[in-house]
Symmetry: C2
Subunit: 693 residues, 2 copies
């Protein structure tokens, strides 16, 4: 049967509502679990308040930024307002943009709310055993996963249904990107400022344990886990997911819509259903290994998705096996990237152990070997992305003109189909990390802390897998994205009465080459600015911690309380202050390149940006994870245990890796979307004027 689009819209809303309902159920389930420990409750409240403080300040600045951008979008998109045409599309674009920011913000806000509820309950549950604690941590995280995917499906379907024009989705996608920039890069600076400062002063200078309540930065550190990993990663994947769907839907529309549009939405619906099933069935086995539990839910979700989409292809007339193959290829490569990441960052595998062993020779060897393996780890992922784009293209090219690119965009949709499950796993990480801290602060005893540690270590591993998915999807969307940019440019050329349309971006054109080179440098500079931002901000916080230890009597002895809020305040203000120049630099360079070299330079710029962005983000995420787990591996009793030379070196490696893996590496994705946003917004201006273009 040929699917009815209206039915599919309704089905999209229905599935989103099911996801929301399931999220609400899990939320209430988490809330019903009891907390009795007074200290834990107090600390958990402090964490919640801290997270709220950061998020409201962030959202306030973001609201200003978004309001300004909404006006610019209103004026410039879908084409400059002075070039004529109705005002309706302009309004739709601006509203879609605002909807994108609002939905992402709401999902993030609720996700953090649940995460900060779950942490204390998970800590106490760990007192009863690993299985209930696992379930609490996982279900708390799953609320975020369900909300993000529910919101994206709901939003995309609603915008498309109301506007009746897929290009309006561009606005919605931009909204998601703006929020991701603040949430991911800002949250990343916040979390690492607090983490690095807490470690430096606590563990290194004073020799007190991690999460010791005497450390003034300890609450900020726990807040950071929530705002950086829960809200930040959620916003990032919301953004990737919306971008992948939007670009597939735009291409589907250019292919005549109908069954193509239906296919994109059906795949998204089935992905969400598969995630719901995966989440509902996730349990820790009797001889529970939490990493295995998380991974097997992921594989289960993958299998369910493949079966459901195969069934849909069989049922629905016109659905093509080629498209199914492209989407399966994307999902398969996502899993492969995850496994590679796991190979490079899991402490049961040789690489982590080699770096731990090299640490015995001194910190320089920790850094050198970690850097080297981080570089090497980029190859399989980049090859996988490259190969899946090629396979999807070749698979779908025979369907007809334009289907080859549609195939690539469906590979991206496929890779992100199980994102609900992925986010659930990812948000589980900070919840159990927090729980570990709360168990320590609440004095729940060694056994409970050990269980919390075990849950935490699994969180680190699956986090690496998540990053693989978000980076991989960014790589796959580049060709559809260049295609979208090219249509923008050609529309502008046609409007201006030109006839020489752009048909591609030739590597041998020096204007394209100009763009590529500069584009490739930008992720490096952006990462550098974020790293320096963390560095500067951590110095401020370290000074504040020193001040507190010097002026608050009894703090060292534990008889007086530190001023936690001062540290939270420094992290908050600093994160936003350091983020803006980095974001501004990216926007400025894009504008300059566009006005110097015109659309051809921007085409090259986007490609250079994504290629070096992929390389650097894979390198930094994996090297960071590798160092973190090498340290943990030594702390678990290898290479001389805590206090050995190897451990000291590993701690240095971990500190270097912190901003790599949690600030710079994962923010590159959002940097890439900012570039494409600015490029698309200003395409008509670049066409109208450029120095060398």
């Amino acid at each position: 049967m040929e699917p009815s689009l209206t039915a599919i819209y309704c089905l999209s809303f229905l599935t989103a509502v099911v996801a929301f309902a399931f999220a609400a159920y899990l939320y209430l389930w988490v809330k019903r679990q009891k907390t009795v420990n007074e200290t834990i409750l107090n600390v958990s409240t402090l964490i919640k308040q801290g997270a709220n403080t950061f998020m409201s300040r962030e959202y306030k600045i973001l609201a200003l930024f978004a309001a300004g951008l909404a006006v610019i979008i209103f004026v410039l998109l879908p084409s400059p307002i002075w070039s004529g045409g109705g005002i309706g599309n302009h309004l739709a674009m601006a509203i879609a943009y605002i909807a994108g920011t609002v939905l992402s913000a709401v999902a993030g806000k609720i996700g953090v709310l649940v995460a900060t509820l779950s942490n204390a309950r998970t800590a106490e549950a760990a007192g009863k055993g690993i299985r209930p604690a696992f379930l609490l941590g996982f279900r708390g995280g799953a609320v975020m996963g369900l909300l993000v995917v529910g919101c994206s499906l709901f939003g995309v379907a609603a915008v498309l249904w109301i506007a009746g024009d897929a290009s309006i989705l561009l606005g919605f996608s931009f909204g998601a990107s703006s929020l991701a920039l603040f949430a991911k890069a800002g949250g990343g600076i916040f979390t690492k400022t607090a983490d690095v400062s807490a470690d430096l002063t606590g563990k290194v200078e004073l020799g007190i344990p991690e999460d010791d309540p005497r450390n003034p930065a300890v609450i900020a550190d726990n807040v950071g886990d929530n705002v950086g990993d829960v809200a930040g990663m959620g916003a990032d994947l919301f953004d990737s997911n919306v971008a992948a769907m939007a670009s597939a839907l735009v291409i589907a529309q250019s292919l005549g819509g109908g069954v193509n549009t239906a296919m994109v939405l059906v795949y998204a619906i089935l992905g969400l259903l598969a995630s719901i099933i995966g989440i509902a069935t996730a349990r820790l086995g009797k001889r529970g290994n939490p990493t295995r539990a998380l991974n097997s839910s992921t594989y289960a979700t993958t299998a369910v998705f493949l079966v459901l989409t195969a069934a849909a292809t069989l049922l629905i007339d016109g659905f093509s096996w080629r498209i199914w193959g492209a989407s399966a290829t994307g999902l398969f490569i996502g899993v492969v990237i995850g496994l590679t990441t796991d190979y490079f960052t899991d402490d049961n595998k040789p690489i982590v152990r080699r770096v731990a062993h090299a640490s015995g020779t001194g910190p320089a060897f920790t850094i050198l070997s970690g850097t080297a393996y981080g570089f090497i780890s980029a190859l399989p992922a980049m090859t996988g992305i490259a190969a899946s784009a090629l396979v999807a293209y070749k698979l779908c090219a025979p369907i007809g003109d334009g289907y080859a690119i549609f195939g690539i965009s469906m590979a991206a949709v496929g890779m992100l189909s199980i994102v609900g499950m992925i986010i659930s796993n990812d948000a589980y990480g900070p919840i159990v990390d927090n729980a570990r801290g709360l168990a320590e602060m609440g004095g729940l005893g060694e056994d409970t802390i050990r269980i919390a540690d075990e849950l935490d270590s699994a969180g680190n591993t699956v986090k690496a897998v998540t990053k693989g998915f978000s980076i991989g999807a960014a790589g796959l969307t580049v060709i559809p994205l260049l295609g979208a940019f090219m249509s923008e440019v050609n529309a502008a050329i046609t409007k201006a009465g030109g006839t020489e349309l752009v048909t591609g971006f030739d590597l041998m054109n020096p204007t394209v080459f100009f763009g590529i080179l500069i584009g490739a440098a930008i992720p490096a500079v952006f990462s550098a600015m974020l790293i320096l931002g963390v560095d500067k901000n951590a110095q401020r916080m370290v000074a504040e911690i020193h001040r507190q230890f010097n002026t608050i009597l009894g703090l060292r002895e534990g008889t007086a309380k530190p001023e936690y809020d001062k540290c939270i305040d420094i992290a908050t203000t600093g994160a936003l202050r350091e983020l803006l120049p980095a974001g501004g630099m990216v926007i400025l360079v894009t504008v300059v390149v566009g006005f110097v070299g015109g659309p051809a330079a921007i085409g090259g710029f986007l490609m250079g940006n994504i290629v070096s962005g992929l390389l650097l983000s894979l390198f930094m995420s994996n090297a960071g994870g590798l160092w973190d787990n090498s340290k943990k591996y030594i702390e678990a009793g290898s290479e001389g245990d805590k206090g050995s030379e190897a451990h000291k070196s590993a701690v240095i490696g971990d500190t270097v890796g912190d901003p790599y893996k949690d600030t710079a590496g994962p923010s590159i994705n959002t940097q890439i979307t900012v570039v494409s946003l600015v490029a698309s917004l200003l395409a008509p201006l670049f066409v109208a004027f450029s120095f060398f273009g």
Copy 2:
């Protein structure tokens, strides 16, 4: 007047001979200076012998490799031998290839010979004052500079004259590349193995000074300076210079030869003349600052070159100001890249001081801030390369069809025109570095060591400038190189009876994208393998040093002599053993990509490779220089001087930076040439068969 090509060939040979004669004069001048100190003479002989050992072993392996490759070249180039055509061109190609390796090897061999003569003499001259010592170090280095440029001009002119076909230059250029791979990457592993091991055991474990004769690795360390920096950098710049001239001459031929061919050779002749003048007039002023002396000779050479080429343009009918402008742009950007590098790595500038200051907070901050500034330092250089390619292209496009690309290749020729001066400055570095060591070992006293230190520090700074030139030129040759690859491919297509010629490499073609992504990962993996190679090899050498200290009685007290040759042997064997897998990986991946995706994938592969290669080599070279000089800055009395926490951190930074800046970073250039070599060699096979192509 229209220039006669024969006259210009003669002029090329004459200029080369003048350069050789001047080199011989300088060699004899250096040799005439007396050495009296027994210890210094002995040690210097050990260094010379060690360098000879390494170079003969290296040349032996290289000879096998080159012989094999010569056969492959004979069979496959200019087109597969089975496709018909005379055997003459095949023979010419193979002979040109062998000539390229031989000339480069001879220049390297003599350069190292003079450098190892000059080091002892410079050390003793430092006893008489900084001015004579400077002159000795500089003139010793200048022999290498003159030889390299003389050989490249002589070789290129001879091949072109004899063969009468510029495409045979490809063979000569391949010869230069093969040697550069061994000399630069192999020498780089050698030098850093020795340096890192000597530092770790000597300075860190035993607390004995750098260059203490009790350290078994000390001679290997000094040998490394010569084989890595003198021979390696010389071979690298020989390769870049030949590649730039060859690609310009191939394009000139495609534009009808005549005045275009003449122009390339005249620019090269005038560049060599300008370098001779610059070298002859280099002196240290009364209130001598050696860095300033080296830099002002470079600027003088630049000015002389610009004036001479302007005069030639005026005199010779048909020479175009547009071409002059393109070449001047290239040279200008080379100087700008040098200045940028200087800004990021000079300890009189803020960046080095900031990193030194951050080191006070711990080694993690040394690494993080150095990494961040290293990333940032890539932006101006990449922008400069991009801008000069664009400007040269736009300047020369109006001359006629095909001149735009010729303009870019002339920008590369312009950038490398003063390479004789550049190499002289660069080879000065290891000579004075050795001299410093010899002054220490010969017990020449604090004053002499201080002078040697001052000379050494200038060497570090100008080294950074050299790297800017060689990296910049690699960036500028990419478009001509892609053009050359495309002609190869089209020739093969035509031969095979095909009609669909390749006209460019479109970014939106997933096959090109496939190549770009994988190409971009290769420099990272190659660097990683070299870094791990240094790491492994250093562990072997550290074990050997420990063995010597444990088993040789009286070594610690200085009454017994260490077995220096054992360390040299480890460095030699290890360097060649670690180099081969890295080189093999690059070749293998290129072949696989070619057979999977065909010529389109290889086009993308070359671009991705160069873009990420530029980024990583700029990052690693500059971060390494930055860390080295931060350490030196602290040792000169800042941030708590030697023994402070900041110093300890800075030493760790320096150790990380060593393989970055002297092994991996500068070897990426040669990796890029290996890729293009393999791509061109196998182009006909990729055209004939590829899975997805």
